[in-house]
Symmetry: C2
Subunit: 120 residues, 2 copies
């Protein structure tokens, strides 16, 4: 079995053949986004060095940055203890989010410790 | 609508009523684990201040640390640009992973830039 095939076999794909991918900036450790991969997307990522995802809405592969220019150079790939989640550390060029923010979570906080009262 | 209800309404739950939750240590920014929440788990998390998840395998709520003692005090909660992923920043006490490692991704790297050759 090739190295890539052995690595692909370590992932516990879900019923749709996918796994969620947490994408993290390698140096600042910001969580940039969450995306999805199937085995072929992971194969392309491992061999090509740029992040390739499976778009569940468009039902196609997308190599991050091919349209926007905001590429992700992969620095590391790990799977979690039960193999069903992938952690990708990348060097993100430009904003990660299609809305133009650095991460997909910027400025989107929920309120903690709420008393359940009316807003405003 | 209460503050909590308004926040719950910002999440785009999947077909099973769930959303993936990326869990990150608030100061070191390590990605600790990925878990799942439904609306009730998020409500308990927002109001109680400790991370509560939905276990897909056991089909029950679990407040992290109730069994292990390795609690997660929540410092922040965000949703992403399309609302279908939650980012939880926490203060993790003890190891996050049930295997005893700090994170669920420790020592579980895949090989990058492989040439597809045989292993070993």
């Amino acid at each position: 079995m090739s190295t890539v095939d052995a690595d692909l076999a370590r992932v516990a794909w879900n019923g749709d053949g996918l796994a969620p991918v947490v994408v993290q900036q390698f140096d600042t450790r910001e969580v940039l986004m969450l995306a999805w991969m199937d085995a072929e997307a992971l194969r392309r990522t491992l061999t090509g060095g740029r992040a390739v995802y499976w778009s569940r809405s468009r039902r196609e592969y997308w190599r991050k940055g091919d349209t926007s220019g905001n590429t992700q150079e992969v620095r590391g790939v790990s799977v979690d203890c039960d193999g069903d989640t992938i952690l990708l550390t990348v060097d993100q060029h430009g904003p990660a989010c299609h809305t133009g923010t650095r991460t997909c979570f910027d400025g989107r906080g929920l309120r903690l410790g709420s008393d359940g009262g009316e807003r405003g």
